[in-house]
C-alpha cells in the first residue's frame, strides 16, 4: 500500500469539505446547553441538601 498516496487522497476529500458525518445542528448545541444548565442548577441545589 502506498501510504502517502492514500493519505493524500483522504486529505483532498477533507479539503473538498465533503460531508463525512452528519453535523450537529444549532438546535443540538442549544439542547446540549440546556442539559448543561440543568446539571449546573442541580449541582448548585445539591449544596443546600442535607
Amino acid at each position: 500500500m502506498d501510504y502517502q498516496k492514500e493519505l493524500e487522497e483522504r486529505i483532498e476529500l477533507l479539503e473538498e469539505k465533503k460531508e463525512l458525518a452528519v453535523r450537529m445542528t444549532k438546535k443540538d448545541y442549544i439542547r446540549a446547553g440546556v442539559f448543561t444548565l440543568i446539571c449546573l442548577v442541580l449541582v448548585i441545589l445539591g449544596a443546600f441538601l442535607a
Partner: protein, 571 residues
Amino acid sequence: MNQKVENEINHEVYCGILPMKDTERTCGFLDALLILSGYCIATWSYTQGAYLTGLVSFKRLLITSVAGALLMLLVYQLPVILSTRFGIDIWIWLRSVFGVKGVKIISVLVIIVNFPWYAVCCDLFAKSMINLASAFGVDPAMLPPGTELGLELLCVVVGTALAWSGVKTIGWTTRILVPLLLTVGIFVVVVAFRNVPFSAIWNYAPSAEMVAETLPGKTPNEIYLLALEANFAFVITLVGGMAGVPRQCKSEKAAYYAGVLGQGVAGSFFVIIGAVMMIAMQYKGFSNLDPNELTDPTRMLSTMASPIAALASLLLVAFANIGTQAVGSYLYGVTLKSSFQKISYHKLILILCAYVAVLCIWGGVEEHFGTFLTITACVYAPLAALLFVDFFFVRRQGLDFRSAYEMKGHTNYVYTHGFNLVGIIVLAIGFCLSLLVYDPISGTIHSHILFKLTPTGFSLIGTGVIYFLISKFPPIRRYLRKDTAVSPITKPFDRYRVPPRQNIFMLPFIHLICWFLTAPYGLKIKKVNMEGIKPPYLVLGSHHSFTDFYVTPLALFPHRANYISELEGFE
C-alpha cells in the same frame, strides 16, 4: 484493490491515523455507547462510590455522581465532534496546539499519568478473584506465592490480546458484556435493598468522625465541593482517549452523547452501586473490613445472597476489568500512533502492556494513588480547555490537514523547532491554576472563593479564558495561526449585517477627547457652504495622518460617522 492492500488500509484506518471516510464508519450511537460504557465500567467505579460515602450523604452523592459528572462531560466532550467530522483523532488536532514535536511529549505524559489506573484495575481484578476463592472455602494464605501478581498480569495480557485485533473485536465483546454488567448492577442493587431497609440507604450520611478522618477541618460545603471535585477528576480522565471511538461514528450528535452518557450514566450508575454496597455492608456490621472488600460485589453477594450469585458477579466483574484494559489499550495505542506514526500499532500496545505489567510488579500504585489522581486531574483539565478553545474560538473548526500530517512542504505546525510555545506555556499555567486553589497533598484550600468552582473546574475555565485572551494579541495570533492562508477564518465579520450607527451617548465623549487631542495644535475648522446639509451624506476626505481620526468627528459634529475601511486591514 486486492485483499492485502485493503487489509493494510483498514489497519491504518482503524488502528492508525488515516482520516476515516464516511463509508468506513462502523459505529452508530448504540455501538459507541456500549464500547464507552464498557470502558467506564470497572471495579474502580465501586472504589469511587465507596470513597464518596466517606464524604457526603447518599442524596448529595447522587447529585455529584450523576449531575456533577454530566455537567463536566457535557462541556469537555463537545470537541469530540471534530473527530467525527474529519475522521481523525484529537491528537492530530492537538499537533496544531502543541506543535508536531510538542504533541509527542504531551501524549506520552498523558499516558504515563493515566496508565496507573489500569494497574489499579488489574489489582482489583486479582483481589476480586482471591475473595471469591475464599468465599468457596479456599484460604488465601494457602494460595501459592505470586498468585495475586499472576492474576494481575493475566488481566493485562487478556486485555491486550483483545485490543490486538482492533476496535471490531472490542465492539462485539462490549455488545455482550455491557448489558450483562448492567444486569448484575441492577441485581446487586436489588439484593442490597432487600437486605437493608430503603430508608437506611436513602437517609445515609457519614458520621462526623468518618468525615473528620478523611478530611479534617473542612466545613460541610467544602466537603461537598471536594466530592464534586472527585467526580470531575474521575470523569475528565477520559479526555486523552475520548476520540478513538467517536471518529468511527456516523453522526456528531451520536458520538457526543455516547461519550457523555457512557461515562455520565453507565459509569455513574456503577459508582452509585459501589456506594450502595458500602452502605449495605456497613449496615450489616461489616464496617471493620477493608474498603476494597466492602465494595467488592463478590463479597457482598456471597454475604447477602449466595456464593453462586457471587460467582456469576465475579465472572462479569472480571470481564469488566479486562474490557476496560482492552478499550484503554486500543484508545491509547491509537493515541500513541498519532504521535509516533512510524511505530506499528501492535508494538505500541505491547509497550503499553509492558508499562502496566511493570506497574503491577512494582505494586506501589495503590500507595501513591491519591498523588497520582491529583496529578492526572491537574493535567487533564487544561488539556480539555485548550482543545475546546482552540477548536471553537482560535482555529474555528478548521485545520491545515497537510501540516497536521507533516506532509512534505507543509510546516505550519512546526512553530519553534516543532513546539508551539504558547500552547505548552498555557498548559503549564493551567496545571498550576488548580494547585493555586487547592493543595491536594496537604488538603489546604488556598482560595475559598475560587474553590467554589472546584480545582478542576477553575483550571478548566481559567486555562480556556487565558488561551482565548492571549490568542487575541496580534503577535500571538500570528504565531498561533500560521495556517490562516490554508484554513482562513471566513466569517470574521457578518458581511450582510447592517452597519450599526455610532452610539449617540458616546458622541459627547468622542467630541471631548478629540478636542483635547487637537487643542494644543490650535485646530480651526472652517465650514463653507454647509448650511442645510443633513445626513445621510458621504464624506470623501484625504488621509494625511492618524490625526484625521480626531479632526473628522469635530468637523462633522453633531452628526455621527461610519468609517469605511478595507476588510484586509482587520482579517
